[in-house]
Assembly symmetry: D2
Homo-oligomer: 428 residues x 4
């Protein structure tokens, strides 16, 4: 099984984190799945992902103090594997785990994903719980010197047979549940350890190997970023997507900064390998963080975000609650002209960027199509010059303006008026 | 109670680590105490210190794999405080703890010390054990993101009332036992954390405050090194001694390197405040490390070590098994001429050092005495020049050669023959 | 003029450095050009490059002390531009500069290149020499705080009009001479400055702009490495080739290490943009370094080097003296099977690498051809496994063994015997 | 000659930089000397120091662009030594150099000092000027890879006989002029080089050796800071004072930060060795920087500055123009109660510091006197607690309030009201 064979294009879906933080429930997940099936599926959206600490029974109960309660009340099976909190995911009781919820998504024609933390539960190691199919216990798999700097749940796994057996045991369980997507956290970058001391490198390989052994086509997504550009080969070899940024939120500075990140990673996008710009904070977000609110991005900034993610071919994971999306939001999420840039065959390139502007072009040799995006990163409406590099072999073309769906003439040397923080995107 | 009032001179004693590693027993400690009382006490030696993991029932049983067994079998009381392993320290049963052993030392006219790790046991936090005198549990005192990089027993304590209450609770217990000396580890330097992220800084203060509250005069010793020279004030404020080096062993490179370390710290030696060159690997060492052996230092190197430690006024902690000391070893440890340099009032200064030689002088204004040590750091016997700075106001003095106890003439401009790796030391 | 339009494939040529150091003369250059025209040209070799300090009259005269004599005797024109040393390049007198030598190469059907240092001569700045076409002097273009850490000739240029005018003035001169290739040094990486303080970034842009203004198709090559992978976009925008390694010499460690470097840069190879593995130390090298010697590489190591450079599509610059090449050397340099991998359309990828082995594959969609290289990085002859990824869609192919030019069967799961430090390369 | 024998107490004087920048003239220097002799000398003030670029004829003429004009018009003698600009220092003509000005100061009972940059003039090296008393030229002494990051005048000197000869030649000249104080810049810390690459370390030794050879008692002051605390021994061995801070100016953040710096260096103050808090921006400053203005410090902040400098025993160098001092300024500069803290025998210690307060105490065993300073670092007037450590052996003493010169009672446990950013200082 070749990991690059089942994630040919950037995964598109919804993730519970931006709206629910650690607290999402089965019912809430289902409503979002229903919405996606009814309104988004036909545009390519398909993943429903339950984010961090679905195994926590007390998640969110001490939010003023902790995002992740240390030594909290977590649900764990006899083999040291976290299982869904029964109060939050009622269908999971009796050993069912996430199977019923995954089935629900599958029946809607969607795919189902979960978040995990790198490693093995600290509680499992302390209690010496056995590892499935071995004579060893979690105490033999856990590296007590490898922890996550911001979440207290796990120890890293040792690079030995016992560690591998643990990873095998969890992925086997997830495959049985019907999981299609694993977002593994604390594994792509660590602020705590120097790169050479970070155990995430071998754990990525072990997780990849476990997926391969499971026989199920499970997409592997790595967090958090920024990924290390000098390790591009490592990510490409073992994962399907990896975060090129720390958590992305609805702040202009973060969005502007993403141009620099995409510039770095532009040559590393290919079938099965997607540098990831992180979730899209669009619509309502923040409820689980005790501040439910509309995304702070303006409509122009949302267009800029969607355009950059699409032309760069980042995975697209919606962060906002789907059932609360406005018409404007939905238009941005269902623009076929725009979303076609995610298709296989497109290859993008930034041809200029300075503090005020950026230009990206993309080419799809298969269909003989091209695209060009003109970004205005400054605080004022202004003109972006059509450089020769946009049209290396001609002076003028007729192009479709993606947002208005009208034809315009694009000429070398002309200036395109773009609003502040906004973008014009053409396909031709 | 002022911490500087009860460690006026550098503490002198014996520590179990170099010979026993994690495995020392009550009987072995007592034999060393007996020996000290009989042979060393009259020269100023007084501390008997039980080093790391006296609470571990399985210490040393998996030595080929682990120095410190992760998730091992440790003895812990109902308040989350480690207590002595009953199999190793039989007198500790029934809640007696180290009191009987401390009493034993006190009756011999000696003092008793123990090693602890910074923080609170991980097991206590996982089990939510209550903290003495509070309504809180260990889970509220433990910082799950603060671990030791090389020992898996503890979490760092949070800088809050609960964390302080835990430190108060352990020091109260130690004071009840009659402990006179605490060597706290993983608190002076951390290779794992950047200085600004290291929780050892506030934990040093909390431990100091707990000692103050206990009312008992307990010397506080911090490990491991190298201590941060830019934080000299911090160590001086809260501790009695702090390691200026990583673990010191019987290798010439480490001994030679100590000259550089003493150079850095020479101006920070004062009553109650002693930069610490670490234990003296003299005699038999290494049994607990599965390689019982004689110290690799030659007699000249041992002299160099003893001289540097004494003229610099480092604490002196013997690392070798006392009952196995040779006559030569004992002569080095009981040279009154040499040990007088530890007395209050001496102030030392390195006046030159290069790759081949070093000269230290010391002055005791109280007694009107001076000392000068001429070290040969090179691989060949050679002459060290008596610089003017050795005798700033005269040309010649009559001095006592410490090792031969004979009078010699010391003259500016003359050369003193010193063997390779050796030293000549004069008092005048 | 688009820089990517005239270096479609990796430049191939000869460079004077590895054999002559700073001392090469006109006569020696011509002999190498003659040899290339007669023996190598038909295989694609075309650049003749005069390396560092061709303007120095005393180059090499104090070699035991200096590689680059500080405040030495350099040839400089009235506009502060270095010109060839007349004693070493007799045809350059009377203002002719390198034109006669460039003409000589052109008549042989070859191209001519020179080495320069980033910036403006320190001597020009001290003497306030005028800058051509401006009212300013070199003192206005030079940044006195920007120097090279290992060569004392230059100051960096300020990022202003005067600095640009200086770069314009030198490239204008080089274009008049007929220069086809500029290797600019001290501009790709600096060990002296932190990246954010390094003036080489804007000087790369200025040099690129000067070439554009000159109207001549001059290849721009940047040294030394390692280039910064996070600045890939920068190099791609302004240069044709950039060193991904510090100076490469005939040591196995350096050759083995190149696999790691190519791994990092594999996705950044494209028409006009070539990460550069540095010169090929093959044949006789070192004469100018006072130790004329045969390359230390074995025949297997030379094959490994040639194969990696070719499949990765690095520029190829021969370092050894051409007129002293052996038959074996020439066979390696003129293997058409091998050199075809440099053609446009090939896209390579490392599919595995560990401490003992590496496998690279390449595909040329245009011609429907593929290649696979199996490297043995270990110290013993051993088998390299044909992974599924070598042949993703079939089990067996018939392939040409490049070195023997015979057909063999290549099957997934089979093991290919490769000598220590050697390689097997197949095209199919 | 022992350097520690002629700067027993912290040097006190005036320096031209804060008011004149690079532009001071002979006449201006004399007026300040006159003022000092008339009004300050009796309080211990004695050094008149001409700061940076007294050899520059065009200093200050392009101030909007450069503080230090690159490749500017500098006065240099036949041996590559800078000499005073004749237009600015008319008495220096005819080879007199600074002798007339030094004589003028000496006749007033003052001492005379000059600023120099580490190394040898770049112009001397370019011109191959001979080095006095040798057969070598400046090109043999200069290290072309060792420059200052912010001033373009010099190259560092090589660590060889020629480099030493150059240092000997300049100090010989200065000694002939009657110079009593050398402030050497770019030698105490370098932002440009990593510590291990910085040539300032050996140049400090060479300068010290040159002073020793000159036979004249010349105080050696090193700039800029922050000095490296781990190299305290180095500074102590070769210099009389060294800057523990980057340039100090009249900003509260810098003053508040100085408490941290003094905390670090408190144990390194002794006769002949003075960590230096930099010049006092009191009175009128900034004229040469094109913004002549009153010090931005409030009266309370000035008191805080003077108290910290004095109790810490920093050298005191007035930065403001002396002839423009107000009565209030002069009172601060001539408070005998305060200035006595600089006398030999005082030993200070910070006993507490947090973000809001700091307490320093000092003891003079010779005279049996003590001092205590209570600093309020916060933004509001508040009480500072008299800790037990202030009076370790008594409960109450009668003390003199330095500013009011009245007696008050100082009691452990009482609170001393101190204005925001202010200080109370007591001697008892």
């Amino acid at each position: 099984m070749d990991k690059n064979s089942f994630a040919i294009t950037p995964p598109m879906g919804w993730n519970s984190y931006d709206y629910y933080d650690t607290t999402v429930t089965e019912d809430q997940v289902k409503k979002n799945a229903d919405f996606m099936a009814a309104n988004l599926k036909q545009y390519g959206w398909q993943y429903i992902v339950v984010d961090i600490e679905w195994y926590s029974n007390d998640a969110g109960t001490r939010r003023e103090q902790f995002q992740y309660i240390p030594f909290g009340d977590d649900e764990i099976d006899e083999y040291g594997r976290f299982i869904p909190s029964p109060s939050r995911f009622p269908s999971s009781v009796g050993g069912a785990g996430f199977k019923p919820l995954a089935d629900y998504c599958h029946e809607l024609g969607l795919k189902f994903g979960i978040h995990i933390m790198r490693g093995i539960p600290r509680a499992a190691a302390e209690r010496h719980l056995p590892i499935l199919g071995t004579d060893y216990s979690a105490a033999d798999a856990a590296n007590p010197s490898s922890i996550c700097g911001w979440n207290p749940d796990m120890y890293g796994c040792l690079d030995n047979d016992v560690g591998q057996a643990y990873y095998d045991s969890i992925v086997k369980l997830y495959a049985e549940w019907g999981v299609d997507f694993i977002k593994c956290d604390d594994i792509c970058d660590s602020w705590m350890y120097k790169p050479e001391d970070f155990s995430g490198w071998h754990e990525t390989r072990m997780l990849h190997d476990a997926i391969k052994k499971s026989g199920r086509e499970i997409v592997l997504s790595l967090s958090p970023g920024p990924a290390h550009i000098d390790k591009a080969f490592h990510y490409q070899k073992y994962a399907n997507m990896w975060r090129i940024t720390d958590d992305f939120w609805d702040k202009w500075e973060l969005l502007k900064n993403m141009f620099f990140r995409c510039e770095q990673w532009q040559d590393h996008v290919r079938a099965g390998c997607f540098p990831d710009c992180d979730m899209l904070p669009i619509g309502k977000v923040g409820a689980g963080f005790k501040e439910s609110r509309d995304s702070r991005f303006t409509q122009d900034e949302l267009k800029t975000m969607m355009t950059l993610w699409c032309i760069f071919r980042s995975p697209l994971m919606i962060g906002g609650e789907l059932t609360l999306m406005t018409e404007d939001n939905l238009k941005l999420l269902t623009n076929k002209n725009l979303l076609q840039l995610l298709e296989d065959g497109w290859k993008a390139q930034q041809i200029m960027r300075d503090d005020n502007q950026a230009i990206w072009i993309s080419k799809n040799e298969r269909f003989g199509r091209r695209a060009a995006a003109f970004f205005n990163l400054s605080e004022d409406s202004s003109k972006v010059l059509v450089e020769q590099a946009v049209l290396p072999n001609e002076e003028t073309v007729t192009a479709t303006d993606i947002w208005t769906d009208t034809d315009v003439s694009l000429s070398v040397g002309s200036g395109i008026e773009v609003p502040a923080h906004g973008v014009k995107l053409y396909i031709y």
